[in-house]
Amino acid sequence: MEKTAILEMKGITKKFENVMANDHIDLQLFPGEIHALLGENGSGKSTLMNVLLGIYKPNHGEIFFNGEKVNMKTPKNAADLGIGMVHQHFALIQPLSVAENIFLSIEKGSFILNQQKIEKQISEYSQKFALDVDPKAKIWQLSVGEQQRVEIMKLLCRDSRILVLDEPSAVLTPQEANEMFKTLRRMADEGKSVIVISHKMNEVMEHADRITVLKNGRIADEMLAAEASIERLTRAVVGERDIAQVIHKPQHQDKDLLVEATQLRVFNDKGLVALHDISFQLFEGEIFGIAGVAGSGQRELAEALAGVRKISSGSVAMKGVPITNKNIEERISMGISFIPEDRLKMGLIPGMNMMKNAILKEFKARDYSKYGILRNKSIRALTQSYVQRHDIKHGGLDLPVGLMSGGNQQKLLIAREINGKPLLIIAAYPVRGLDIGATVSIHQTLLEQRDRGACVLLISEELDEIFEMCDRVAVLCDGKLMGIRNTDETDYGEIGRMMSGESA
C-alpha cells in the first residue's frame, strides 16, 4: 500500500565551521509510524531534528509538509504545523503544577486560566494514550519519568501531529521505557507520527517501524525494523571500525584495604537525609559498583567521598588516614579522582577551551606552571597527549569544550582524572548518554585503571554495566545500603529485588 508522507526532508545540509553535521540527508515520515533515528553521538541526529524544529537554518535542503514546501524559520513555524519535540532536558517550570505548565505551552491559551478545562483534557488524553499524569501535581514532586510524560502530554495538548523525542529512554528504567513506548504506539495508531532519537539498537528494533541510521552526518542505512538485525545495525552505526571488546578479567585475591567508610550520614540539597548511616570497605584493584534506581543517594555518596558534599556524621578513612574533614584539594592530592554525573555543570567548564579544562586539577604542578606563570607549551603537549591516548575528536585545542560531543567531552574529563594515577576513582554514570564507541573506550580505560591497582567506584543504573564491569556491587535503596555482593555470586533477580527495597 502506497502511503503519502506527511513530512519529507530533502537534501538537508548543515555546516558548523568546518564540520558537516548534516550532509544531504533525505528523510521521509509517514502518518502512523514510529521512526527511529539511530547513530552515535555527533552523527547528526540532533542537528537534523533541530533543523526540522526551525532551531537551526540548514545551508541547503528543503522540507515538505503534506507535499507542500514549508520554510522553518523559527520554532514557531514548526509548532504551527504541529511538529513538537521532547528534549533531553525538559522545559518545565518546577514550582508550577502540571496543568499550569501545559497551559503555558498552549499557544492559543486564553487570557483566563481555565484550570478545569485543561484538567479534563489531560485526563482524557491520559486514558486514551495510557499516559498517567496527575494534572494537579507540582513538577518538582514528579520523578524524571513522570516529567517526561508531562512533556509528551504538552505536545498532545498542542495537537502535535509529529512528535520528536530525543533519547527518551535514557532517563527511564526498563519498565518505564516499555510503558513509554506503549504510549507512543497508541499515538501512532491514532495517526500521529513519532520520531525517536536513540542509540540503543535493541530498543529501536523492538519498538520502531522504520530505522534510519546516521553516521558522520550522512545516512548510513535505512530499513524496516522487521528487516533489521544487530549485525546490520552495528555495521551501519560504527562502520568498519574495529571495536575492541571489553574483557572482564577475574579479580586477583588478597587485596589491600583502601577506603573504610563507617556510618556515613549525608544530606541532599533539600536538607533531607540522603544516606542513612551506611558503612562499606573498598579495596585496591577492584571495581565496586553502586546499583540502585535514580535518586537513591548515589549522587550524595559520590560527592561526599570526593569532598564536594559535607559528611554530617560518620567517618571515612583512606589507607588508614581519616579524610572526613579533609577539603577537596587535600583529597585530590591524596589520590581521589571524581567523574561527576553532570559533566558540564561540574567537572568540565563548557565555555573554556580543552587546554584550560585539561589542567583544571594540575595547574599547580611544576610541569604546568612555574612561579605562578602558566606554561602554555607543556599544557598544550599534555592536552595533545590526552587527545592521542584516548582518541578524542575535537575541532581544535583552543575551542570551547561545550562545542564537543558528549562522548569526547567525557573522554577528556576521564583522561584528566586518571592522569595523576589516582588510588580511588569515583565514576558516576560515566557512560550515560554516550554512544557505543565511547562507552567501550571508557570501560576499557576504567578496567585498565583497576588492573593498575586503583579502586573504581562505579555508579550505574544499568545492571548490564554493573555485571559486565564490577567485581562487587552494593545496592542502595532510599539512601539505605541493602547489601553488598560479589557479582559472580549473584544475579539480576537478586540485585533487582534489593533495588526495590526487599532486604535479602
Binding site: 520554510n71 523559527t74 577537596i328 585530590i332 571524581f338 555543570k345 567548564i349 595547574f363 599547580k364 606563570i373
Partner: protein, 359 residues
C-alpha cells in the same frame, strides 16, 4: 505591506577591526543626534563639535587635560573590570575611591614628613588600603553570607561620600576657605607633570599592562577565569572560591582607591567634598565598553576624559553646561547601544505563508 519578525542572532566572533570601528561609528551617530538639541538651543552644531574635538584631542594643551581628566577614570575602569572578571558586580568604585582619598590624603595632610620616595609610597599604599578595606566589607558579606554585592557596594558609596563631606566641611576644612576643601598637600608630594600630563598616567598604564598579563598568564588569573565560568567546577577542582572573592574584591577596591592617589597627588593636590564626581560610575561604563580588557580600559578612559574636557571647553562658547552634559550622555548611550550590535546581528524575517502574521 506586512512587517516580518525581528530576529536577534548572537555573533560567535567579533573581529578586532569591527570592535574598533563600531564605537567610532556610533560616536558619530550620537554626535549627529546631539545636533538636534544643540541647534534647538540656538548654536551651530558643527562649530560646537569642531571645537570639542579640536580642543580635546588635537591640541597639545587640550589633549593633556583630556588625559588628566581620564586619569581617575582609568583606575575606576580597571577596578570594575577586574571585579567583573570574576562576575563580581562592584559598583562601589566611587566609594572606594573616596575612602582611598581620605586615608591617603589624610596622611599627606596630617601625617609625619617622610623623605621623598617613602612619602609617596606611604600615600600610595594608604589609598590602596582604604579602597581595599572598603571593598572588603562587601566582599566578606558576599563570600560568607551570600549577600548581594551590588546593593552593598552601592550603599557603601553613600556612606563613603558622606564621610568625605563631613571631613571636608568639618575638621579638615582649610582655614579661611568658603568651599568644602582641605588645604593643599605638601609640594614634595605633587606627582610630577610631564608636558602638562600627570605622571600618574604612566602608573595607570603600567598597572593595566601588569593586570592584563596577570589575568592571562598566571595560575591566579586562570583560577579567576574558572570561577567566573563555573563556581561548581571551581569547587570541584579544590579552588577556594570564598578566598578568591575576598582577594579579587579587595584588589578591585584597591585600584579604585588608587584613583584617589592620582587625583589627590597628581591633579587637585588636596581633598575636597564630592571628590570622585561620578568617576566610579563612569568607570562601570568604561569597563563594560572595554569588554573588561585592562588595556582597552586605558584607551576608552581617554575618550571619556576627552568628552568631559570637550564639554567643558564649549561652555566658553556660551553653550550651557546642561547642553554639554546632554551631549556627553547621548554619545555614551549611543556607544553602549553600538556595543550590542557588535555582538548581535539583526535580521528581518518576512512571513511568506499566507495568514502567518497575526494582528
Amino acid at each position: 505591506m506586512k512587517i516580518g519578525t525581528l530576529r536577534f542572532e548572537k555573533k560567535q566572533t567579533v573581529s578586532l577591526y569591527k570592535k574598533i570601528l563600531n564605537p567610532i561609528v556610533f560616536i558619530i551617530l550620537g554626535m549627529a543626534f546631539s545636533c538636534v538639541f544643540i541647534a534647538a538651543a540656538g548654536f551651530q552644531p558643527i562649530a560646537v563639535f569642531a571645537k570639542m574635538i579640536s580642543y580635546s584631542f588635537l591640541s597639545a594643551k587640550g589633549f593633556s587635560s583630556s588625559v588628566n581628566a581620564a586619569l581617575p577614570l582609568m583606575f575606576c575602569g580597571l577596578s570594575v573590570a577586574i571585579a567583573f572578571k570574576m562576575n563580581l558586580n562592584n559598583i562601589g568604585a566611587e566609594g572606594q575611591y573616596a575612602i582611598g582619598a581620605i586615608l591617603g590624603g589624610g596622611f599627606a595632610l596630617y601625617g609625619p614628613d617622610l623623605p621623598a620616595p617613602f612619602s609617596w609610597i606611604a600615600v600610595f599604599l594608604l589609598c590602596a588600603l582604604g579602597g581595599g578595606l572598603w571593598a572588603l566589607i562587601a566582599a566578606a558579606l558576599k563570600a560568607y553570607w551570600k549577600i548581594n554585592e551590588t546593593i552593598v557596594t552601592l550603599m557603601l558609596n553613600y556612606i563613603a561620600l558622606l564621610l568625605l563631606d563631613y571631613l571636608c566641611y568639618g575638621p579638615w576644612m582649610a582655614p579661611k576657605q568658603t568651599t568644602a576643601m582641605t588645604s593643599t598637600i605638601p609640594k614634595s608630594l605633587y606627582l610630577p607633570m610631564i608636558n602638562g600630563i600627570s605622571s600618574g598616567v604612566f602608573l595607570a598604564i603600567l598597572i593595566a599592562v601588569l593586570l592584563y598579563l596577570f589575568l592571562r598568564y598566571t595560575t591566579v588569573g586562570y583560577r579567576i577565569d574558572v570561577i567566573k565560568n563555573s563556581v561548581r567546577s571551581a569547587e570541584y577542582a579544590g579552588i577556594p572560591v570564598k578566598k578568591f572573592i575576598l582577594i579579587v574584591f579587595v584588589l578591585s577596591g584597591a585600584l579604585a582607591g588608587l584613583a584617589g592617589f592620582v587625583e589627590v597627588t597628581g591633579i587637585l593636590h588636596r581633598v575636597q567634598s564630592q571628590l570622585p564626581r561620578g568617576s566610579g560610575y563612569t568607570g562601570i561604563v568604561i569597563a563594560y565598553l572595554s569588554q573588561f580588557n585592562p588595556l582597552a580600559v586605558i584607551i576608552v578612559a581617554i575618550l571619556f576624559g576627552g568628552l568631559q574636557n570637550g564639554s567643558a571647553i564649549v561652555q566658553i562658547m556660551g553653550v550651557p553646561s546642561q547642553i554639554a552634559t546632554m551631549i556627553q550622555g547621548t554619545i555614551m548611550v549611543f556607544v553602549i547601544v553600538g556595543e550590542f550590535f557588535n555582538h548581535y546581528r539583526i535580521s528581518v524575517d518576512r512571513e511568506e505563508k499566507k495568514g502567518g502574521a497575526r494582528t
